[in-house]
Homo-oligomer: 327 residues x 4
Amino acid sequence: MVSVYIIGGSGYTGGELLRILERHRGVEEIRVSSRQYVGKRVNTVHRGIEGELTFEKYDKRVAEGCDFVFVCTPHTKAMEYVAELSTRIIDLSADFRLREVKTYEAVYRKAHTAPELLREAVYGLPEIHRKEIKRARIVANPGCFATGAILALWPLVRKYDIKEVIIDAKTGVSGAGREPNEKTHFPWANENVIPYLPVGHRHIAEMEQELGIKVFFTPHMVPMSRGIETTVHALMNTEVEDVKKAYEEAYGDEPFVDVVDWVPTVLEARGSNYCKIGGFSQEEGRLVLFSVIDNLIKGASGQAVQNMNIMWGFKEDEGLQQLPLAP
Amino acid sequence: MVSVYIIGGSGYTGGELLRILERHRGVEEIRVSSRQYVGKRVNTVHRGIEGELTFEKYDKRVAEGCDFVFVCTPHTKAMEYVAELSTRIIDLSADFRLREVKTYEAVYRKAHTAPELLREAVYGLPEIHRKEIKRARIVANPGCFATGAILALWPLVRKYDIKEVIIDAKTGVSGAGREPNEKTHFPWANENVIPYLPVGHRHIAEMEQELGIKVFFTPHMVPMSRGIETTVHALMNTEVEDVKKAYEEAYGDEPFVDVVDWVPTVLEARGSNYCKIGGFSQEEGRLVLFSVIDNLIKGASGQAVQNMNIMWGFKEDEGLQQLPLAP
Amino acid sequence: MVSVYIIGGSGYTGGELLRILERHRGVEEIRVSSRQYVGKRVNTVHRGIEGELTFEKYDKRVAEGCDFVFVCTPHTKAMEYVAELSTRIIDLSADFRLREVKTYEAVYRKAHTAPELLREAVYGLPEIHRKEIKRARIVANPGCFATGAILALWPLVRKYDIKEVIIDAKTGVSGAGREPNEKTHFPWANENVIPYLPVGHRHIAEMEQELGIKVFFTPHMVPMSRGIETTVHALMNTEVEDVKKAYEEAYGDEPFVDVVDWVPTVLEARGSNYCKIGGFSQEEGRLVLFSVIDNLIKGASGQAVQNMNIMWGFKEDEGLQQLPLAP
Amino acid sequence: MVSVYIIGGSGYTGGELLRILERHRGVEEIRVSSRQYVGKRVNTVHRGIEGELTFEKYDKRVAEGCDFVFVCTPHTKAMEYVAELSTRIIDLSADFRLREVKTYEAVYRKAHTAPELLREAVYGLPEIHRKEIKRARIVANPGCFATGAILALWPLVRKYDIKEVIIDAKTGVSGAGREPNEKTHFPWANENVIPYLPVGHRHIAEMEQELGIKVFFTPHMVPMSRGIETTVHALMNTEVEDVKKAYEEAYGDEPFVDVVDWVPTVLEARGSNYCKIGGFSQEEGRLVLFSVIDNLIKGASGQAVQNMNIMWGFKEDEGLQQLPLAP
């Protein structure tokens, strides 16, 4: 049984962590901090959470005393917490995802104040780094777009000699966080498709680091609450059956990645920690394939719990068995 | 450990039963029939279900050999299955919800072919009939609108002398079932509010039977996939704190009914077996209050599993602990 | 040809006015002020507006020189502008809708600083007050919920002796305005039904003033961008054909109110200035009927232009001929 | 003043034609046929249409006597009507869009029964073929995806030497037509992204014919009723200002194409005949740009009316002046 501490738990990733950890059979104590809501019951913010759990003021000693600390603060803020704690940490921000300080600083335009920990931290995508995660003290939980894209491409880049790929992603609005703004205002986000960054999205650096190829990436926001659909366009010629086989081999034993015979859709992953990959199609000159995930679960808090399970030795799917909610 | 059999499992209630029962720790075997999809893998229809489970042709002897049979066929068809089986049955159709044959035949405009079982069947709303459910062989699982409405009114009618009430309900589109039609076609259901039966909805008979008062009821379809919001307008004067207290007393020990301090919204129940009741407001001449449920869970398959748990002696929330998915 | 001035044109009602007036054949000049966006092109805010129109700083003399001033500021602010201008004014705020100062101050909890103009102002619902509108200098444009409710009830209260009525309304999210907040954040408003004021909505005072009966009113927000559906529950017995006839007689010559043979839905009004009324149903003890409007058009800016047309002598539907956009 | 005849007017394109033509000041008579709804009032199907217009049985002589015939039947059926009529025809199906019989038959897998008319027909994209449209008797109205894609690429392929391009499109559900099916069932289409054809969409042939380059194209269905967003990924290096200039020059005089300074979104075109193009972005190795249209207007019926206006000599925007409806 473990105790966990969530720093900055009032956002969506905090809410999802609470939703999952409240039902995790290996968790005996949960504490959660928030600057804005100190002293307020958690369910005044996350209405679905049952019980009396209350946001508290962050207290380093309390956090230090817990088996796991989940850091849910924005990037640049997260590294301060990580630097001062010596317990097991799963950081949901971007601060420890990039191995090179230089890359981090180029992408996030801030100095990294704990560069010595960058090498210690493990990129928390279990399908690629399970062994390192098992031994890690600090896990950098991947970005939501990065999760969808890397899982969609990993078997391909291992097997084929690829230099570059085009990724066109579509995300639900919760990907923009819990803070209301003009773009997430219902009458604007609804009945709309909003391409929100033609080039230069920050998750590209994670993708390129893990995949080792050039990634052209453009994300779009579509009118749904949750989910990411990732379409991969690779200008290459393959035997599509070989491609599929490579994916089945790579993910055959994975508890949360399904290689499917059809074109997967977001609803097949929504509400679950699953990633579904399929729709492998080759035409003269282009290979196309698709992945879907729930951006808040496999793309954030579910994957964080999966990492905790691996680090502690719980069954990897503990707390995460829930099947997709469709419709 | 129990074995379960689902008759007619290709619809939404069947899909939800499978989603829940696949993760129920007391279920060791699931079988599922469908006329339309015999021989097809379940996840060709319910994409989120993992594994090899396959629709089979209905076989009375196999069903009879299971500990529980869930009947998910349309009303009038369901009674045929119920009549020929002697195992424990949870019927999700309307066929055994009304105690009086006459009422059934007036509402459903069909002869009831198993009237002798009507008295044996128990109306499966645990908050009112838990004791009878425990001893029952046949449980008639309540209608989705009836669940939202009866739970919203039960403590009120017990405490106050009320003759009639107005209920205005709003449902997600999944309430119309899995069969596509003009009303559920996305471009018509989206950006729309569709009042779909001004008067005379069939669930009114259940509500009046259980509540013992006259119910004026009008349901509306709104552009969401899941959920029912029920607004109760009662032309009466009360002390609103007394009303709230009556609800807290009635539901204080209930695992799945929360009386809340605010006006509940559908997202607070979505994806869970919870019913949230709140927003108690009194103005001169009218009392208003609200309930929310997930129409496919507390309004159908979740409640069916809750009934199974009670009948068999499982922990009542086994398989149903999942917290609401919001957003 | 007229010149018009819009005060506070950066919100949704301002945007809709611009959309309509840009295509109105009797309007030769449009000017628009905004405190927040002075000097910015209108289409940086209202992206669909073509051309070079730019927000300017409010200038009393310029406004005064226009044939019509549309006031789109919040209530309590609007009365200041109205008080200082002597040209024709259509006020889209609530400041001049209520005839009695006392009522205004009770409802809006602010002192009314121009009470002498309250009697001069005409309530701008053409179907009831067309004659007075024709002669008016100041028109108080009705609230969106009030428009849907009063049109739904006017013929009924004229013909029958009714003391009270229950109205349950469902609105799209644009009714909450253009300013983002927690309730209008897409992931919260989507897949949700949010009852947003059990009792005491401010538009009730307008409804009671115009209808002369007690109104019990509860509005709900549902996941659509535009539209209001109004369900009227009247505890009374009628001959439903007589009711329908009363509506057909009342609205037979109205350019924008259709009495229909079916249950109308929001899509049948969306994008247009029409109000559709139908679904007349009588059961023992209750009469039910429904109206639908586009909250931003007939419920706000379209009706404002209709009032302008009446005041100036344009064809009443000039600029408003557009048929509903469905889907 | 012209008379028009719509063949097969019960679908979405028929409904939109009616909505537009009813308000077109140059149209004095509209007749509309439907096999399924003969004798029924048009507004039993298209609820927003006012008045008494009634679906009639197709009568060749009546159609022949009209100035314009709009053919809204499915492809392969349309060519039969086109072949037997000698009046002006605007065919909204795919039957006359491809200049080569061979291509048509390869793409649509049917023999073309009127190949001699293929050369007579003009591809009805006014921005490219205005002159030929003016003289044409038969206009083949472009496909919705083709319109969004060709307009997004035309200036680029004229100026730069490009061999191939990747297009990733997102469409609203109305693009799938008015017939309900599993994919358009609200609970499936909602909260989902559905890639509906990885490779081989039929509109590709139109795009390649008009653009003269290889087109890699994958469309996705997202949860909105209307609109197409088209994202162009071109693996090339340019000066982005030069690219933009090329678009401004190409479309500077176009009444319905706006080159904008920002990344356009679907709401900026919805409900209008406009196409907005923008978001020009160059990174090392890839140029990205975006277009948005309303699939039922510029992508279908609005463009058809634009073609009629050009053919007859009406003002090109007659009936189409309506600005986008946002929200």
